[in-house]
Structures are given as C-alpha cells and as structure tokens.
Symmetry: C2
Subunit: 427 residues, 2 copies
C-alpha cells in the first residue's frame, strides 16, 4: 500500500491529492492547517479534497498530525520521536498536540500504543471509522480518544455503543464550556455539543468518560493492569491516621466502599500492628509510613483472605526514598530513620500478589519537588517501574487511583447491564 504525507500550505493541497489519486496512492495524511477551521476559503479547499477522496483514496486530516503506527514503522508525528515498540492501546485524537502529549506522558507509566491517529478536521476518515477499525484490531485491547465534536452524531453514538460491548472505550470530550466550544470551533471547526447530550451518550453507550489527560492515562493503566473487575468493596492500607481519613473520603466520593471490618478481624489485625497509633477498622493504619515489612505482609494476608474486600490499595508507604528528610537528596540509600527495610518493604506487594493472586494497587506520590530532590524522584520512578513490571498499577495520588478504579468497575457494570438489556434479559 502506498501512503503519502502532505505538508504544503493549504491552497496547494487539493492539486497534490488529485495527483496522488492519479498515481494510484491509496491513502494520504494532510498535516497542513488552513482549511475549514480557518474560514470560508479553507472550507472550499477541504470540500475539494473530500470530493477527490470519494473517487478512490482515503484521507487522514487535514489540520492534524497524522498516524503513529510502530508495527508499521511509522513513528514520526511532527516534533516527536515516539517509542518504536507497539502496545495494546489505541488513541484517536482530534488534537495534534494531544496526539503527542498523551504518548509522552503515558510512556513513563509503561503504556505503549498500537496506533495513534490524529485526524484533525476529519474530511474523510473520522472517529467512527477509527472506532470500527480498532474494535477489529487484534492488537488493541483498550481504545482511548480525545474528541471535540464528532462529524456524525447518531453514527458515533451507535459505533460507541457497539464497540464498548467488546473493548473499553475511554473518551476525553473537550469543549463543553462556552469558551471551550468556541475554542473547538476555531481548532477543528466542529460543534462542541452540550453537556447533557454528552452525559446521556456516556450513560447509554457504556463508553468511559474522563476529564483530563491524567485521568485518561490513569484509567488506561487500570484497564491494562486489572482483571475484569466489578467489586466496589476495598481496603486501604496506609501509615498515619490522616491518610486513612483522606482515603475513606476519596473512595466514597467515587462510589467505592471501605467497609468496617468485623470485630474478630479487627482483633487479629490489632495483634499485628503496633500497640498505639494504629487503626484496624478499615482503612488500616499500620502506624507509620515505614512499617516493619512483616507487619505489612501479615496485614495484607489477613485482610485479603478474611476481609471480604475485592481489592487492597497500599497508599503512601515508604516503598522507595519517597519520604526522606529534605537534605538527604543525593544519597541513594534508604534513610535509616525510616527503617533499613525499605527494599524488603517494597517487595511485599509483589510477593502477596503472586501468592494470593489478588489484584492490588499502589499509590506512590511525588514527595519532594525541588531540583535538589531529584535523586529521590529517580528512586521513586524506579520503584514504579518495578511494580509495573510485576503487573501492579501505580498511581500518583489515592484520589486518582480510586477514580481510575471506579471508571473500570463502572465500565464492566454498565456493559453487563447493556448486554442484558440487548438480550431482553431483565438486569
């Protein structure tokens, strides 16, 4: 298959597309801007291209960054040299900027892409075509998208609903505010649409709505690393009472439950944690952010086998130099004041996951933000990599972890419900 990339100024583009068609080229991507988003003259040029396309050639764009497809050796989006390795995530983006930013930011979280398509004004190939394509693509397990305004609303609705029954589709919809809708119009010449319409769309199709680049990445990570997952009861294990309080608040805000442990279980846990300054009700406070490794091991084993919870989140424990005192930066060895057992502590979640086969999540925040603390951050990132390599998803804050988890659970719950309705079975 022949594929051409066109980057000339807009007025020259229609003739080049015509030439491509004449030469038997199957598809082109037009990166140039200056079409429908720029006014009447641009609209005319774009319509000319669409007419040529209809005679036998597919067009990505114009006003886009085109296609990233590592398996096909096509890894250059403008200004970015993206990873050469393929992965299970597709990203369709009406924004060229996000077509680069999303894979950049996702790369540190171990997320790799099957393909990324920045399709801009979508004069030919649009989000519906791409949804169909990725729903059939065996390499793609999770479909993600940044959408400003679909070309054909009803068709988009139907596609989204169909595809969501087999693969999670995570959509960040931009431009729902007044100013946002205006920016959409000058960006890709689309209509932004109304909040209520999009609410209904997400509810009825089973697609997953996210509201930022961070939530898109977190949710993708949760889908990749968690099994098909429906349970809303969880335990949070942290070190410090305030963190337990914040954990419970954050979970309930997104509809997850942190159920009170029964008295017999609390009694067992009380025998494990330190005698004062801890809590065993759920969330579990192991007394300090740097507990003895054996304490974390026993607590995890006990709550996962007897706690009637679906998931354990280990939140803000000192798995790396994540909470060293300022001034210790530059020293890569764990600080003795937090116990010499940091390395052993960090291995416990991996050991428990292997032994019990239960899903776990870990929260490892950036603790120190100065340039002088950079070694601390490097150590934290190494531990993040270690967990990702062992199949344990890691998040920067507990709020973000539970939002991603809730997005995953809601998807499977709604899919169950939609499938039941479609089969005429009462849900």
């Amino acid at each position: 298959m022949e594929f051409a990339t066109i980057t000339t100024p807009a007025p020259a583009v229609p003739a080049i597309v015509e030439e491509c068609l004449a030469k038997g080229i199957n598809a082109v991507q037009i990166l140039s801007a200056g079409f429908r988003e720029a006014g009447e003259e641009g609209r005319r040029l774009e319509e000319q291209i669409a007419r040529t396309a209809a005679r036998g050639l597919r067009v990505v764009g114009p006003n886009c960054f085109g296609v990233y497809s590592p398996a096909g050796g096509l890894t250059i989006l403008p200004g970015a040299d993206l990873p050469k390795e393929s992965g299970p995530v597709a990203f369709i983006s009406q924004s060229g900027g996000y077509a680069i930013r999303v894979p950049h930011r996702a790369s540190g979280w171990g997320i790799r892409f099957s393909q990324i398509v920045s399709y801009g004004n979508a004069c030919d190939i649009n989000e519906c075509d791409l949804l169909e394509y990725f729903s059939q693509d065996p390499q793609t397990r999770v479909i993600t998208g940044y959408i400003e305004g679909p070309r054909d609303g009803p068709r988009f609705f139907r596609r989204l609903k169909e595809v969501s029954q087999t693969k999670p589709v995570i959509i960040w919809k931009g431009g729902l505010s007044q100013g946002g809708a205006r920016a959409v119009n000058s960006h890709t010449g689309s209509l932004g649409g109304e909040e209520a319409v999009w609410d209904a769309l997400f509810r009825q199709t089973g697609a997953i709505r996210v509201n930022s680049i961070e939530e898109l990445i977190d949710t993708t990570l949760a889908f990749l690393y968690l099994p098909e997952y429906r349970g809303r009861r969880l335990t949070v294990i942290g070190g410090g009472g305030g963190i337990g309080v914040a954990a419970a608040d954050a979970c309930e805000k997104v509809g997850l439950s942190v159920p009170l442990f029964p008295p017999e279980l609390q009694k067992k846990l009380t025998a494990i944690v330190p005698p004062a300054g801890a809590s065993t009700r759920n969330p579990v406070d192991v007394g300090s952010p740097g507990p003895r490794p054996q304490v974390l091991r026993s607590v995890l084993e006990t709550v996962l086998t007897e706690g009637r919870v679906d998931m354990a989140i280990i939140s803000e424990l000192n798995m790396s130099m994540a909470t060293p005192p300022p001034g210790s930066a530059g020293n890569p060895a764990p600080d003795a004041r937090f116990g010499a057992n940091v390395a052993e502590l960090s291995r416990i979640p991996v050991e428990i996951k292997k032994r019990l086969g239960r899903p776990l999540m870990v929260v490892l925040p950036v603790e120190a933000n100065g340039p002088e603390d950079i070694r601390v951050e490097e150590a934290r990132r190494q531990v993040v990599n270690y967990y990702l390599g062992e199949g344990i998803p890691v998040f920067l804050t507990l709020e973000r972890a539970v939002k991603a988890l809730s997005n995953v659970i809601s998807y499977y719950e709604r899919r169950d419900a939609l499938v039941s309705v479609n089969q005429g079975i009462p849900s």
Copy 2:
C-alpha cells in the same frame, strides 16, 4: 520558657505532666498515642492530663507530632528533619502524618513555614487557640490547616470568621464520608461532622476550603505569589488547539471567564502568530508548544495591554526540556526540534511581569515519567525554581492552577462581602 517533650507510653504520661508542673515547666508536647482515640482507659488518662494542665501548664497533644518552629530552633518532628528556614505560612494539623507530608511536598514549591503544629487529640491547646495565635503572629501571612473535627464548633466558627477577615485561612477538612468519619474517630477521637454543616461554615466564615494536600499547597502558593486579586477574566496562552479547548473548559468549571477577544484585538494577534494552525480568539493558541520567543513576547504584551483581562496563564509551553522526545533524556540541552530558543522563551514571562507589573501564572507539567527521563524532570524543576524566585507561581496542571486562582479570588470577594455586611453597608 521551659518546654518538655513527652514520648513515654500513655499510662506513664499523667504522672510526668504532673512532675513538669511541679518543676515550673510552662508547656509540654505529648507525642505518645493511646489516649482518647484508643478507648475508655485512654480517655481517663487524657482527662487526668487536662486537669493537670488547667492548674498552670499548656499541653500540645497527646497523640500528635508536636511543634515545628524554625525561628525557635525547634525543627524536629518525628521521622522528619524539616527546613531550618522560616517562612510566612502556618500549618495546624490534627494529623501527625500530614504535619510532615505537607512541608515536605511544599518545600519543592518554595513554601516555608512560620510554625507547624500537630496537635492531635487537643486535650488543651486546640485549633481555636492556634487560629488566634497565628492571626496575631506578624510572621504568618497565610494560615493553613488539616482539621478532622474541632473540639468546640461554635467557637471554631467565630474564630474562623474573625481571622478570615485579616488573613486567608485555608482548611482541608478530613472525614466527611461515612468511612472517613469512622477513621476520624479512631484517629483523633473527634466527630467528623456533616457535609452540609461544613459547607455552611466555609460560606459564612470566608475560610477557604480545599480537598486535598495538592490543592492546599497550590492554593497557598497562589496566595503567596499573587497580589490581592479579584478579577475573574483571564487569557490562557498555549501551544496547540486542544490545549486551548481544555483550558477554557477548566476555567469555566471553576467560575473563571476566558472572554472572546474583540475583532480588532484578534486582528492584531493574527499578525503576530503563525499564519495557520493558531487561534487568537482566547484562549490564544500560538501554534505550537515551542513558539518563537518574539511571538510569545508580542502576544503577552498585546493581550495584557489591550485584552481587558486580569491575568494571563501561560500553559504548557516548552520552557524547559518539558516536552522533549523520549530517548533524548540525559541530554540537558534543549532539543533543536523544539527550537533552539527554549532558554530565551523561558525568560519572557519574567521580562513581561517586570515590565508590565501584571500577575502571571505558568503551568509546567511533568511530561515524561520514566526513570530514564529524570534529567528532563530535573530541568523542569530548575525552571520552576527560576519562576518562583522571580515571583511567578507555577502549577503542574492548568486545572490545578485555575482552581487555586479561583480559591484566591473567592476569598477576597467573600471577605469584601462579609466586611460590608458587618459594617451595615449593602454589598
């Protein structure tokens, strides 16, 4: 003044406090846990201490991490060796863990503290006493707090209202969910209180509500770096249409306005930005995340002098190696593909702020999250430090920047309104 720190197990504490009183010690902090939060026996011990205190000695705690006061040379909280320098922020915390985490995380953002008081069960000195103290403290400009449940609700309300008229009081209230309230009870033995009650408290007192450690730090930063500030009209300058869309959405969500620029101003801006792929309506899209420095300079000058906006936010431009391609990590020089002018570009906001005397905010996200990208992150942090040193606040995401800004504006607006009501002047 004599000051003692008590860390013995709970049952031994009352006798030691009695002994301190006999020896003429003025104040003690009791770090030990095992009091009211632990049940009936602990409650009895705590009441015994309170009775001793009433006879002539002040008590911080028990079940706390005590006092951090760099000006007084008291800089050790358990497990943390905090900065020796004082600053303009007070932090009162019912959680010991947050008394350490907040200053750790804030340190990278240039925030220093006058004092931090972890007061735990508050058997004597409580949040009301501390609010009074810091309202009078000349070194403290901003008061922050993590509160689970105040001892004396009506007094807390009155104090908060009084103090908020002279200094911003930023409160993170923990434990508003069911599980959170339970965790509060086992943490500091307090009652969590209801959402509606706390909503009313914030509305009526003029205190600023935040919902996470990140928002507490962001909002503190905004108060420290922005002048008394009330304008809700702003411009966002970014590189890439999708970022403009997200910016407008984020602003309107928190009640800020990104007003459409009038045609004559759009025309002027159009002459500055690249001919295609940019937008001048507001948000302003300068065409790419790495614009020519002269473009950013002229756009900023033009919108700040003619745009009738109160603030400009410069969002996600390549001020450091913030968006280099993966694989370029380890190379501290800006990548040529983003323009060799990165260093000059990064100086523009500082130059404009000095010349025009207008407040600016900068958004510099963490772009690459892997350990192999650590040099990229180091460069980003250096640029953050540079801006902070020049009095320009920096935020990790635009969502967080505008939330902090909105918190600042709401505070001054409500203070105006409350002062008017108190003076009998219709607001």
